[in-house]
């Protein structure tokens, strides 16, 4: 039965996330935006200690049995929104298995999942990262040139990866891992592309650069070089066999799970901006009048309502995409719809919010300008808006990549 109400126990847990966002993230938001490459270790330690929070960002398939909430992906989406309302950069840099974990969940065998993910529930803070993008491509993930060649009991990986979120933390600053996508057979096209787990500080893997960015500055974005990097044979996730259907499909399966989360990140930032504007207008005694004729609204009221309803629309699309994953429905159309819409509207919402506050919006006195910078990445990473529009278009038209590219 159609229902949009959250259960009391979920609401209760979300309140806890909200407290973290408000009391632990917001107060250090500006500081770690300004000190771009420094790390809030105290915040990390606290987040790591709170085991309940450590699973955020690690989506699971519906067949995964655990003691968590019934709608686990939906719950992850909700908590992500809450934490990104606090600070999206800090959220992204929080120690957990991250996108690397998502790849393990999507492509690994049950034994691999247990083996590689165990570290995230014990010891010191750790990070997982995923390395897919290369300098010569962005969203065209099938163009992977990094190679994995079998050499006795090892795979030898060679190539350069860029835009790895949390790459530095995963590869060098903790006992984490990087999941790198490499081809085992360049002639096989996308079917030959496989994911490999590379442990932290494996010889041959080195972080050569950490990007300076417009926003989400608390999170490191690394370029990583693999130079004859040797890893054990059983570090390939899933099977090494090149099948027509295999390999790259797992990248896409990962995205089906992570795109709703990225959409939720966007929504969290958008909600922060919207809440800020709402409170600000209230202080200025500007009333938002719902229910009256649209033709009698002020421009300010119209702008605000437009922001509000667009955010809501994106949010509902996101919830639906996550819910579908939880209920075992194929969601790749809906995940892309949510991601495309959320990335776009949150970019627009935060820009409009800055505009509405005039010089105060542009000033670094408030976090609003930061949220506009933080929001933009959501329209780019995990597939740009345009890539997601292509995916949506292909699905609604019944086209493959040959018919529409």
């Amino acid at each position: 039965m159609i229902d949009f109400e959250l259960e009391p126990q979920v609401l209760k847990r979300l309140q806890m996330y909200h407290m973290v966002a408000e009391n632990m993230m917001r107060p250090i938001s500006r500081e770690y935006d300004e000190k771009e490459h420094e790390k809030p270790w105290q915040f990390y330690e606290t987040m790591w200690q709170a085991q309940a929070l450590a699973d955020v960002g690690a989506p699971t398939k519906s067949d995964e049995k655990d003691s968590g909430p019934k709608l686990r992906n939906l719950y992850t989406v909700l908590s992500t929104e809450e934490l990104c309302w606090g600070d999206a950069g800090l959220f992204l840099s929080t120690p957990n298995s991250g996108l690397g974990g998502a790849a393990v969940m999507a492509a690994g065998t049950p034994q691999q999942k247990a083996r590689f993910l165990k570290r995230f529930s014990e010891g010191k803070p750790k990070w997982g990262a995923m390395a897919i993008t290369e300098p010569h491509f962005g969203s065209d993930s099938a163009a992977v040139k990094t190679t994995a060649v079998r050499d006795g009991d090892n795979w030898v990986i060679n190539g350069t990866k860029i835009f790895c979120t949390g790459g530095e933390m995963a590869a060098e600053k903790s006992e984490g891992f990087v999941v790198v996508w490499a081809t085992v057979d360049a002639t096989a096209g996308r079917a030959g592309i496989k994911p490999f787990v590379v442990d932290h500080n494996t010889p041959g893997m080195s972080v050569i650069r950490v990007e300076d960015k417009m926003g989400i500055r608390a999170s490191d974005t690394a370029a990583i070089v693999f130079d004859n990097c040797k890893i054990p044979l059983d570090h390939i996730l899933g099977s090494a066999e090149v099948k027509r259907e295999g390999g790259f499909k797992d990248v896409m399966a990962t995205f089906d799970a992570t795109r709703p989360i990225v959409a939720a990140m966007a929504i969290g930032v958008g909600r922060a901006a919207l809440d800020f504007v709402r409170d600000f207008l209230k202080e200025q005694k500007v009333e938002i009048r719902y229910g009256i004729s649209q033709r009698r609204l002020t421009a300010l009221e119209r702008d605000f309502m437009e922001m509000e309803v667009q955010l809501k629309a994106a949010r509902l699309l996101t919830w639906r995409a996550a819910w579908m994953l939880d209920t075992g429905k194929r969601n790749n159309l809906e995940a892309s719809m949510a991601k495309a819409k959320a990335g776009l509207v949150v970019t627009q919402i935060t820009q409009k919010a800055v505009e509405l506050l005039g010089p105060l919006g542009y000033s670094r006195q408030y976090l609003l300008e930061k949220w506009m910078r933080d929001a933009k990445i959501n329209d780019i990473f995990e597939g740009t808006q345009q890539i997601n529009m292509i995916i949506v278009a292909r699905r609604i038209l019944g086209y493959g990549s040959k018919e529409l590219n």
Binding site: G291, S293, R295, A313
Partner: protein, 369 residues
């Protein structure tokens, strides 16, 4: 708990109304638009689906189904997929039946509801909108003044569906203009009441199949029993939330029809050696349409689900309706664009859908869930 699944019963209703809409209503849409007439046979057939009588209480001959705003939204979307003019006509009796069932006194229910439970279509409709550019539901100009035990109504209404063939009109008027929504009452006014004048049929850009009229109330005197809800009056804000959700749901159906048509066309029309759907310029327009349709539907469902839980949905229904009004215009406009010159020609339905979509922003309270 969050759930996006329809109940089996909702699925069945959606399927049956959807089949009727795509097979019967769609076929009749162009003729209704050109001639302004809807075949009585079609309306009679639609009546058999029990869309008005089903949710009425059994004691008044109704089906006794639980009235659900979400189910209502599903019905409106399907009818809107067929044709919104015809859909509005089919559901117009609900504009009297449902407010009476929900907020009427026992006497009013006994007096009014039975007629809607019969085998034949009974026209009835509500007079809400007024002919002003900045017409506002919270500032209705039509007045209701107490006159002994009864009331005197004065004012001008427009866009009253089926006014000329309805025996009773539900007229909304401000009994206390200072109170906004809370100061609005509704009155059951027989068409032959002295002082009530129905003007000739209105001519609009779209929604041409639907007969709407202006209504003038000049010192129109009604008895105490005419006031809906008796001494308690009505919850106007809730009724308007129901109405806005209905219009928004109709709009979602309209958007869907335009999208389907444009998509199919784009997959058959060749230009520069490929189907135009293979061009990103067109494919992205279609993708955007698909996203807007789903987003709009979810906004409608969320607002409707609040109503079903008995919560206030003024804000949600307002935002959803405004969203749909804007996105339906965009989507239907894009459909015309996808067909190019052919979209502008009346051989294809997309130009009609664009004209109809424009109406969504202008009309409030012309349908209900």
């Amino acid at each position: 708990m969050i759930d996006f699944e329809l109940t089996e019963e909702q699925q069945m209703i959606r399927d049956s109304v959807g089949a009727f809409a795509s097979e019967q209503i769609r076929k009749a849409a162009r003729e209704a638009d050109e001639t302004g007439k809807i075949q009585a046979e079609l309306i009679a057939q639609a009546w058999q689906l029990g869309l008005t009588s089903g949710p009425l209480p059994e004691q008044y001959g109704g089906g006794g189904d639980t009235r659900s705003a979400i189910t209502g939204a599903l019905i409106a979307e399907e009818l809107g997929y067929g044709d919104i003019s015809i859909g509005f006509h089919i559901l117009a009796p609900r504009l009297v039946a449902f407010p009476v069932a929900e907020m009427g006194t026992d006497e009013q229910k006994a007096r009014m509801l039975k007629q809607f439970s019969g085998a034949n279509f009974v026209a009835a409709a509500a007079a809400i909108i007024e002919p002003k550019f900045d017409f506002d539901l919270t500032a209705i100009q039509t007045t209701a003044k107490r006159d002994g035990v009864g009331w005197i109504l004065n004012g001008v209404k427009c866009n009253v569906p089926l006014a000329a063939e309805s025996d009773t009109l539900l007229v909304y008027a401000a009994s206390d203009a200072s109170k906004g929504f809370a100061g609005v009452d509704a009155f059951l006014v027989p068409r032959d009441t002295a002082g009530l004048k129905i003007s000739e049929r209105e001519k609009n850009m779209g929604l041409k199949g639907l007969a709407t009229h202006g209504v003038t109330l000049e010192n129109c005197s009604v008895g105490a029993l005419a006031r809906l809800g008796g001494d308690k009056g009505i919850n106007f804000s809730r009724l308007m939330s129901e109405a806005r959700i209905a219009i928004a749901a109709f709009g979602v159906g309209l958007m869907r029809s335009a999208f389907d048509y444009a998509r199919d066309y784009a997959k058959e029309r060749k230009a520069f050696g490929v189907f135009i759907a293979q061009k990103q310029a067109i494919a992205f327009i279609l993708a955007d349409m698909a996203i807007e349709i789903d987003a709009a539907r979810l906004l409608v469902w969320e607002a409707a689900s609040r109503l079903d839980k008995g919560e206030d949905a003024l804000e949600e229904s307002y935002l959803a309706k405004n969203y749909v009004a804007a996105s339906a215009l965009k989507v239907t406009d894009n459909a015309v664009q996808c067909l190019g010159g052919h979209g502008y020609v009346r051989d294809h339905p997309v130009e009609m859908w664009l004209r109809n979509a424009r109406g969504l922003a202008a009309i409030d309270g012309i349908a209900t869930v």
